[in-house]
C-alpha cells in the first residue's frame, strides 16, 4: 500500500464509499504483513512505501540475474512498483521470465515495472548533463525520477566550455522545481547553474574523464566546493540517489 492508496481509502471512508469496518480490515491486513520479509540473503522492507514514499529499490551490482529476478518478483507480489538500477540485459531477461512487462532502459541500465499509480510531484525536475559521456548517469536519474512520479525535462550536452549552449536554455532552468546536474571532468556545471536559479540543485559527479579526474573524484570535490550556495552533492555516478532526493523535495506537501 502506498500513500496514494492510503489516501484514497480514507477519502472513500469520508465519502461513505467504504465502511469504517471494511477500511479497518484492509488496514489491519497491511499492518499484519511483516514489516520486512527475510529471503535469507536479504530482508525486504515492505513498509518503506508508506514510510518513505517509494518502495525498496534493487541495487544490481553483486547480485546474480536469478537473485534479481527473485527479489523483483517478491516486490511486485507485495503490490509495489519495481525499480532495478545498475543492471544488465541478462538480468532483464531473467526478470521478464517472471514479470513479462518489465522494461529495460539500456542507456540508464535500469529495469522498471509500474503496477500501481504513484503520487505526482509538484513540478518538473530538470536533469542536465555536461557531456555525452555523462548520459548513462543522467538517464539513471531521469528514469528513476519518472518511476517515482515526477515529470522530467532532459537538458544534455550543455557543458561550460560552450556556455552559450546553457544560457540558451535559461527559461527551461527557471521552470524547474528541482535541478539535477550531472558532470564529470572538472565538474563546473552545477556552480554555473546554481548561480542562475533559486531552486535546489542536486549535483551528481560522474566518473567521466581520465588522468587526474581520478574516476570522478575531481568532479566530486569541485561540486562540494561550489561557490554557488544552493548546491548539494551525492556520490559519484549516483543518478538514482539524486533522483530520490529530488523526488523527495518535489513531493513535499
Amino acid at each position: 500500500m502506498n500513500r496514494l492508496q492510503l489516501r484514497a481509502l480514507l477519502d472513500d471512508v469520508q465519502a461513505g464509499a467504504l465502511t469504517p469496518e471494511a477500511a479497518q480490515d484492509r488496514l489491519l491486513q497491511v499492518l499484519h504483513q511483516a514489516p520486512f520479509e527475510n529471503l535469507g540473503f536479504a530482508r525486504l522492507d515492505h513498509h518503506r512505501t508508506l514510510r518513505q514514499g517509494f518502495p525498496e529499490v534493487v541495487f544490481g551490482p553483486g547480485k546474480t540475474p536469478a537473485q534479481i529476478a527473485a527479489i523483483s518478483e517478491r516486490i511486485v507480489a507485495a503490490g509495489h512498483n519495481l525499480l532495478v538500477t545498475r543492471t544488465t540485459a541478462e538480468a532483464h531477461a531473467a526478470v521478464t521470465a517472471r514479470l513479462p512487462e518489465a522494461v529495460f532502459h539500456e542507456l540508464a541500465r535500469t529495469i522498471t515495472l509500474r503496477t500501481s499509480d504513484v503520487p505526482s510531484g509538484k513540478g518538473p525536475i530538470v536533469v542536465a548533463a555536461a557531456g555525452t559521456a555523462d548520459l548513462p548517469v543522467a538517464e539513471e536519474a531521469a528514469i528513476s525520477a519518472e518511476a517515482m512520479g515526477n515529470t522530467v525535462h532532459r537538458l544534455y550536452d550543455v557543458g561550460v566550455a560552450g556556455i552559450h549552449r546553457l544560457l540558451a536554455e535559461h527559461d527551461r532552468l527557471l521552470s524547474a522545481r528541482v535541478i539535477i546536474v550531472c558532470a564529470g571532468m572538472e565538474g563546473a556545471l552545477p556552480s554555473v547553474v546554481g548561480g542562475l536559479v533559486d531552486v535546489p540543485v542536486i549535483a551528481v559527479p560522474t566518473s567521466v574523464g581520465y588522468g587526474a579526474s581520478f574516476g570522478g573524484v575531481t568532479a566530486l570535490l569541485a561540486m562540494l566546493n561550489s561557490c554557488s550556495s544552493g548546491v548539494s552533492v551525492v556520490n559519484i555516478d549516483n543518478g538514482f540517489g539524486a533522483a530520490a532526493i529530488a523526488s523527495s523535495i518535489n513531493h513535499l506537501p
Copy 2:
C-alpha cells in the same frame, strides 16, 4: 527590494493603495540601481535578493574587520538584511560602530541584522548535531536558516553511540520539512536519520575528530556513501550552505 516587498507593492497596486505611476517609479528606481556595485575588491550583487531569495552573504575569512564593516554598511544601505559568517568579535565591534543593532552569535560565529521582513518558510527545519563539538557548525546552520525566514528546531548531542537519544526524538524528526544533520568523526548520523524519515536530509560533515578523521574528510566520505537514499551532502563545516539549500527547499511555493 526582496520578493516580499515586490509582492506587497503589486498587492498595493491591485488594492488601489498605490497608483501604477508610483509603483512604476519605485520599480524603475530598483532597476536603475546597478545590478552589482564595484567596491574595487568586490562586486556586491544587489539583485540577488530578487534572483535567489536572499541577499549576498558576507563570508568572513580573509577580510579585515574594516572591510567587513564597509561591506556590511553597503548591504544594509541597499535595503538588505545582513548575514556575516565565519567571523569574530573584533569584526562585530567594527560593524557595530556603523550598524549598532547588528547582533553577534558567538557560538555560531555569525553577525546578523534584520532590516526588513523575509518570506516565511513553509515548515520547521530541524538542525541535528551528533555531539557537543559539532555545535559551532550546527549553530551556523541554525542562525543562517533563521535569518532566511525559517523556523528552526535544534536537536543536539544525539550521536549514534547512544541511539536511544535519537529514537526518543523520533516525533520531532517526523515533524520537519527538511533536516540538517551535522556530524564529525565517522559521520553516521545522517544515514540513521535518513532511514527514519521521508523528507530531504542535508548532511554537513564537521571537522570534529582527530587522527584518521582527517579534518572531516572521513565524515564527508561516509555521508557521500550513505546507504539511506534521501541524503545529500555539502562541504565540511559548511553550516551556512546547508541552511541555504534547506531554506531554498522550504521556500518552494
Copy 3:
C-alpha cells in the same frame, strides 16, 4: 599437537592412564619435529597450534591450486586442521584429489577439513553484516571462527538505513561474547552496535560500494573514527582476521 591434545595427555598421566615415560616419549617426539618445515617457497610453522591456539592458515591469493594442495597435504599430515581462505573451486578440486573430505564453502571462498577436535570457545560469536553484498566477507569470518572452535550466530542485512531491523535483534546482540560487524559504504553499523553492548566489537570494513567508497577505504576510516568506544578494526575485507581475534578473545581462560 594442539592444546586440547596436550591437556588430554597430561590428564591421562594424572589419571594413570599413561605412564610418565610414554608421555615423555610423545612430548619429545613433538619437540623433535622441526618448528618449521621448509618447502622451498614456504616455511610451515608446525608449532603454531601450541603457540597461538590454531595452526597456520593458508592464504590463497598468489598460490597455484597445486601449491595449495601441496601445502594442505603437509598441514593435515602434521595432524593439524585445515583452513584455506580466499580460494577457488579450482583449488578445492586440487585439494580433494589428495584430501577427499575437504569441504568448499562457496560464498565464504574457504576450504576446511577438521581432523581433530579443537577447544571450544566460551560463548557465542555474533557475525553481523550490513547488507547482502557484505556476505562473502561475513561468511569468511563465520566459517573461520567455526573452524577455530567457536559457535557462530549470523545476523545479516541489518544496516543502519533501517535501524528497526537491528533493534529487533537486540537480545541476540546481548547474548554474544564477541561481535564481528561487517559493513561497506559508510561503515556506520559498528558504531551503532558498539553503543548497544559492552562486549568487544571487531569491525570489518568491506569493499562494498562505488565511487567515493574507494574500495572500502571510507568504511575503514569511519570505523576507525567510531564514536563508540568498544570498537577495534581490521583490514578491508579481512573476515579471517576478525575471526582470529574474536576466537582469541573467546578462548581466553
Copy 4:
C-alpha cells in the same frame, strides 16, 4: 550504580542483610534517575555504567576548563568515577576547585577521581610502546585501563630497531591477558608482538614521526596490514580507546 554495586545489593538480599523492600526502593531510585541528563550542550548518559561497565568519559578537546569542571562535578555527583582525557593543567585547576581530590596525570594528559570500587579485570594488561615519544599515548592507555579496574604492566622503548630489547621481555608478554601496543613511524611493533603471543593485541598507531609518516597514517596502515593474525587497530593516538577495548575483554566473565 555500577555493576559491582548492583551485585553487592543482590548479594545482600540473598544473605538477608537487606530486605527485598529496601532493595526495591534503591533500584527504583536508580531507574527513576533519567537515563541521560541534559546540560544544554551535552546529554550525560548516567546509565552507561550499567550498560557498558564504565561511566561516560569526558573527552577534553573543544571544551573550556569551566565546561569540563561542570561536567566532572555532575558525573561525580551521580556517583560515578571520573576520567577526563586529552586535557590540560588548566582544566585540572578548574576541576579541583570543585573536586579537590581529582588527580592530574601530566604525561597521560588525563584527570581521574575514584569515588567507588570498580570490578577487577581478570589478568594483567601489558601496555608496550616502541619509543620514548610514544609515551603520552601509552600513558593515556595505561591510566585509562587502571581507572577501569585493570592491573597494567608498562613495557616502554622496545621498538623493533633493537629487537633484543623486546625479546628480553618475552615472559612479561606471555603473562598478559591483553596487550596494547603503541608505535609511530613504521608501526611494526604490533606485528612482532602478535607473532609471539596468543592473546589479543590492540594496536595503537601514534602520530610520532615526520615527513612520510603523515601524522600517524603510515603506522595506522602498517598495523591494519599486519601479517600477524591476532592484531586489531584503533584510531591514531587513541590510547583511551585501546584501554576501553582491552578492559572490555579483560572483564568478560
Copy 5:
C-alpha cells in the same frame, strides 16, 4: 645586460654611433662577468636576462630580510631589474636601506625596482580573479607581468556563481593576447573563460576555500580536467609562474 640593451648596442654599431672596438669592449666585459656569482648560500645567475629574457627573481620564503637585501643589492648592482616575490614589509624595509627606491606592493607581497627598460610585450595580458580572496595571487601575477614589460588588465570578482559579471566583460577578454585566470574553491572559471576565447589561458589555482578544497588541490584538479582545450595550469598560488609563462608568450617575436 638584457636583450634590449644588446640590441641597442648592435643598432648603435650599425648606425655608427659606436665603434666596433667600443662595442667589443662592452661585450667582453659582460662575458668576463662570471655566468653565476656564488654568494655561498646561493649562485646568482647573471646571464639569465640574456638566456631567458628576464633576470633571476628572488623567491622570499625561507630567506631572512638581511639575505633578501643582500641578494637584491647584488642583482641591482649587476644592472638588472629587481623582483622579489612572497615577501614582507620587514624585508622591504631591509631592502630600502640599501635600495631606497624599491617599491613594496602589499597585496601582491612583492618588491620591485626598475633600473632599466625591458622589451614590451606584444599585447595586453588580462588577469582575471574569481573572488576577492584570490586577489593576493592575482596581484602577484599582475605585478610580476608588469615588471616583465607587459601591459596588464585586471578583471576581479568575476566568479562563475554570477556568470553575468563575466559575460559583461567579454570584450575585454577578446582583446587579450594571453589570459591568466586565478580561482580557488571549485576552480571553474578557467573552463568558462577558455570556452569564450581563442588565446592561451593560464590557470592558477588558489588556496582559497576550506574543508574539501584541500588548500587549493580541488581547484588544481578541476583546472587540469578543464573541458576547454586552451587551458594549461601552474602550481597552487603560483601567480609569478603564470606571469612568467604569459610574458614568455607575449614576447615571442
Copy 6:
C-alpha cells in the same frame, strides 16, 4: 568556414574578385547555419572554427565506432577538418566506410582527414619525449599539432638519466617557438628543458611507470612544482590538449 577562408573571401572582395553581394550571400549562409547541431546525444559546435581557430575535435572514449563515424561525417559535411583522438582501428574502419580518405595514426591512436587548408603556425613546435613508452602521448600531440597547421619536430628518448642525449639537441630546442615535453615516471624533463630555453614549455605528464608513479600522478606533481619558471602543465596523457595550447600560442598574430 575557418579563418583562412574568411580572410581569403575578404581579400577577394578587396581585390575585386568577388562582389560585395556574393560575399554577403556567403557570409549570411554561414551565419544561418545553426551555431550548434543537435544529434540528440551531442551538440556539434559548428562555429568553433571561427571562434577558436580549429573545429570541434572528437574525443573517442565512450563512443561506439558507429557514433564516431556519424559525428565524423557531420563534421566533414560542415566543411571542417577531422580530428578524432584516443580511438581505435575499429573506429577507423567505421569512419572509412563513410570517409574513405580518413587516415589512422596507429601509435597516436588518432584519425585525421584534411578537407581544407588551415592557417600555418609561425614557427616550429618541438615535441620531446623522455622515453620510448611515452611515444603514444607524444604522437597524439604531434599529429594533433600538425592537423592544426603547425610544423612539428620530434625529439624522442631524451630522458634525464642520460642528459647528454638532450644536450646534444640544444640547437633544435632553441629553434622552437613552443616546446611540448612528455614524460612519465619522475617527470623531470620539462624542468631541464625549461632551464635551457626562453619559449613556453607545455609539460604533459604520462601514465608511464609503475608502483609509486600512480598512473602519472607523480610526473604531474613534479611538473607542477618545476623550479623552471616557463613551464605550464596539462592533464596526464593529454597530448591533444598540449597541442591545442601550443597551436594557440603558435597562431597568435
Copy 7:
C-alpha cells in the same frame, strides 16, 4: 667493452702482451662507436657499461616481443650481456629465435644471456623476502644481481610474524656486504633486519597485500619511516633497482 675488458687491455700493455699501437687501435674503435645507437623508437646507450659498470637493461612493459628481440640482438651484437626485466615467455620465445642461448627465469620474469665476464662484487649480497608472495620481486633482484657479477644468498619466508625464523639466520645476515629486503603488507622486515646488522639495507616494498595495503604503498611508507637508520628504499616491486644499487655498492673499489 666493459671495465674488466678495459683493465685487461691495460694490463696486457703493461705486461707487454699488447703493443701500445694495438691497444690504441682497439680503444679508438670503441670510441668511434657512437655513444648511443638510434633505433628510431629508442636510443641504446652503448657506453653505459664503461660509465656505469653494466650495460643498458631492457625494461619489458610496453614493448612487443618483436621489439624486445630487436633490442636484445643489438645489445648482444655490441658485445654486452643481456638483461631483460618484467618480461614474458612470449618475449623469451622471440628472443631465442635470434639468441638461442638466452635464458628465461620464470619466477623472476627476466631473460639473461651472459656473453662476457663481468667484474665480481666484493662479497655476498643477501636477498631476503618476508613471504612466499614476495618471491617474484625477490627473484628479480637476485637474478639481476647475479647478472651484474654478484654472489647472492637467498633467505625467503622470514617475515616478522614468526621472528624466530629470521633470528635463526642471524649469521647469514652478518656475512652479507649488502642486504636487499623485500616485503609487502606492513613492510616491517627491513626495520628488524636493519637493527641487526651494520651493512646497507636496500628495502623493496612489494605490492603483496590487499585492502589498505594499496598495492604496496603501505609497505613503501613503512620502509621510508623505518626507525633503523641504515635503510634506504626503492620503488614498489623494483627488484631490479635494488639489485643495481646493491651491485654498485658491492663493486666499489
Copy 8:
C-alpha cells in the same frame, strides 16, 4: 668502546704493549656494562657502537632541553661521541651546562661533541643540494656524515633549472664514493646526478616548496620513480638517515 678502540686494544696485545690479562679485564668491563641503560623514559643502547659502527644518536623533537642534556651526558659518560639532531639553541645551552665543549651547528640544527676518534671512511662523500632552501637538510647530512668519520664535499645550489651549474661540477661528482642529493619541489636532481655517475646515490626529498609539493611528497615520489637506476631514497628531510647509510657504505671494508 668503538671498533677503532677494540682494534687498538687487540693490536696492543699483539705488540706486547698490553698483557692478555689487562686486555681481558678491559673487555669484561665493557661486556659487564649493561647492553642498554634504562633512564625510565628511554633505554640507551650502549653496545650500538660495536654493533653498528656509531653510537646511539639523539633525535631532538619531543624531548625537553633538560632531557636532551641528561641523555647527552650519559652518552658521553659511556665514552661515546655525541650527535643530537633536529635540535635548538636552547637545547644546546642546556647541554653545554654539562658538556661545555659541545658544538651547535645552527643551519644543520645539530649538536656534536667528539670524545674519541672514529674510523675514517674510504673516500669522500658528496652532499649536493638543489637550492638554498635545501641547506638545513643538506647540512644535517653533512655534519652527521663528518661526525661518523667521513670527509664531505658540499655542492650547493646546483638545481636542474640551470643544468650548467651541475655539469660544471662533473669532476667533483666523479670523485665521490657515495653521493647524497637533497632536493625539494620536483625532486629531479637525483635522476640527473644518477645518470652521470656509477656510485650509489642517496636521494633526500626535502619539504621545500608550496602548493602541490605537499611538504616534500612530490619530491619523494619523483625520487622513488627515478629513471636512473642507482638511486635509493630516504624519508623527507631525513638528512641524518642519508648520512648514516652513506657512512655505512663508505666504511665497508
